[in-house]
Symmetry: C2
Subunit: 236 residues, 2 copies
DNA sequence: GGATTTAGGTGATAATAGTCATCTAATTGG
DNA sequence: CCAATTAGATGACTATTATCACCTAAATCC
């Protein structure tokens, strides 16, 4: 039977949340539409009242899931070295590694996203950009492009580290991967900080950018303004 | 009809190679047994004369494919800074990113390997260890565990970078990811080298370890001696 | 060289996949 | 308050899936 508008929106959201969990823990190809609907407390038939296809669900799930992740990072993001350490400490922790339901979609379904359709890759790419911009706020460079460079490297290292730590069946090595990455990234930022101290710089606000911008609700279309990635190389 | 022993072994190898290519380009769950057999020039029925299940094929494919990758890295691995630069230059190149058929299984199917069975994860873990040991040969530390730390960080960063560069739909950003990672890893090793120069050290041969050791042919059982990963933290 | 073994083809199995038609009851628009 | 709309359930349809039984012809073993 028909449901109220509020209920419908709630249901749609419930499907998206169930999809996010299922996709992250069982993979995209490993999760059926019926399974997701059941997890949302529904039967399989009603699915197509909310989404035109599984692919569309995947794309929207990716957008929503990335947004959640970006927001979480964004609220944690201060300027301080300590808040940065807290962030990598959290993201590169054993608990985070073992939490296969939550966490970043780029980690949980990275190699599947490579083969995803255009809308899904767009959402994933936008999410990546967004996280880079959040992390760049931590990087104490006068030059925004230098901060961006360090942010990109920090993010890809974290993604690689968590992914590998989940694969490795030797707990000691798995832990060591997280440990090593934590320490190296911490010292990377510390180095940037001490360099910044020697050349007293303009307030770090200057390196602030758009943190996240996506149409408040992708509805049934995922489209985000393409952000032209400046290929700025600030390096040694 | 029955085939000669040599032919049978050749066929088995052909299936493994076809599986490697198919899994890398379409994912594990995205590739059917029939599809692999067809790519090997066979029909689907004969599959179970060679492998007990798809899972077993996946595990062996992972072992073989990792071995190939490790061997390729191993022959390239000299002590010189230049050969290290060549290696990351190659692995973090646009051509390597766009070659979805070849390359490292950890990149091509990373998030799927997380959910793979024990034998497959074992093969992947062993492969990871092997590559770490190859890369560690490049790291000019007196302390083997320090070399290992840098090798681990280098490897996970590369894996994360190539994976993400394959997802990102913005070519400029995708290239920048590779670029940034290349430069940061090069300077990481350069720093280690200059540090090593200041404290003249014992010959780097001392940091050499077992490069790769797996039963020459896993046959129908993947088992590799577990290498206890020393959780050595040589860091700043 | 005859008996046995077996690689691989053919075909069938049962399960699961994504998608859609149809029905219903209730909400919404007027 | 009646008519039009529609959220969701039921059930079906078609592909595709992993797996296996069976057959055949050739290689291997004694």
């Amino acid at each position: 039977m028909k449901r109220s508008k509020a209920e419908t929106a709630q249901t749609r959201r419930r499907i998206l949340d169930a999809a996010a969990q299922a996709f992250k823990s069982n993979g995209i190809q490993g999760t059926g539409v019926a399974e997701i609907m059941a997890a949302a407390g529904l039967t399989h038939g009603g699915f197509y009242r909310h989404f035109a296809s599984k692919d569309q669900l995947v794309a929207e799930m990716c957008a929503v899931s990335m947004d959640i992740f970006v927001d979480a990072a964004g609220t944690a993001a201060g300027m301080s070295h300590e808040s940065f350490l807290e962030y990598i400490e959290h993201t590169l922790s054993a608990e985070y590694r073992d939490d296969t339901l939550g966490g970043c979609p780029l980690v949980a379904m990275g190699s599947e996203l490579v083969r995803a359709d255009a809308a899904t890759r767009r959402a994933a790419s936008q999410g990546f950009e967004d996280i880079v911009n959040v992390i760049a706020k931590w990087m104490p460079f006068e030059d925004p492009s230098a901060a961006r460079v360090d942010a990109i490297f920090t993010l890809v290292s974290m993604i690689g580290a968590v992914t590998m730590s989940r694969i490795i069946d030797n707990p000691e090595l798995s832990n060591q991967i997280l440990d090593v990455t934590k320490k190296r990234l911490a010292s990377l930022r510390a180095k940037a900080r001490s360099a910044a101290k020697q050349h007293p710089v303009s307030p770090p606000e200057s390196s602030q950018r758009r943190i996240k911008q996506r149409p408040a609700r992708p509805g049934s279309k995922i489209q985000s303004k393409r952000t032209s990635a400046k290929s700025a190389n600030a390096d040694d």
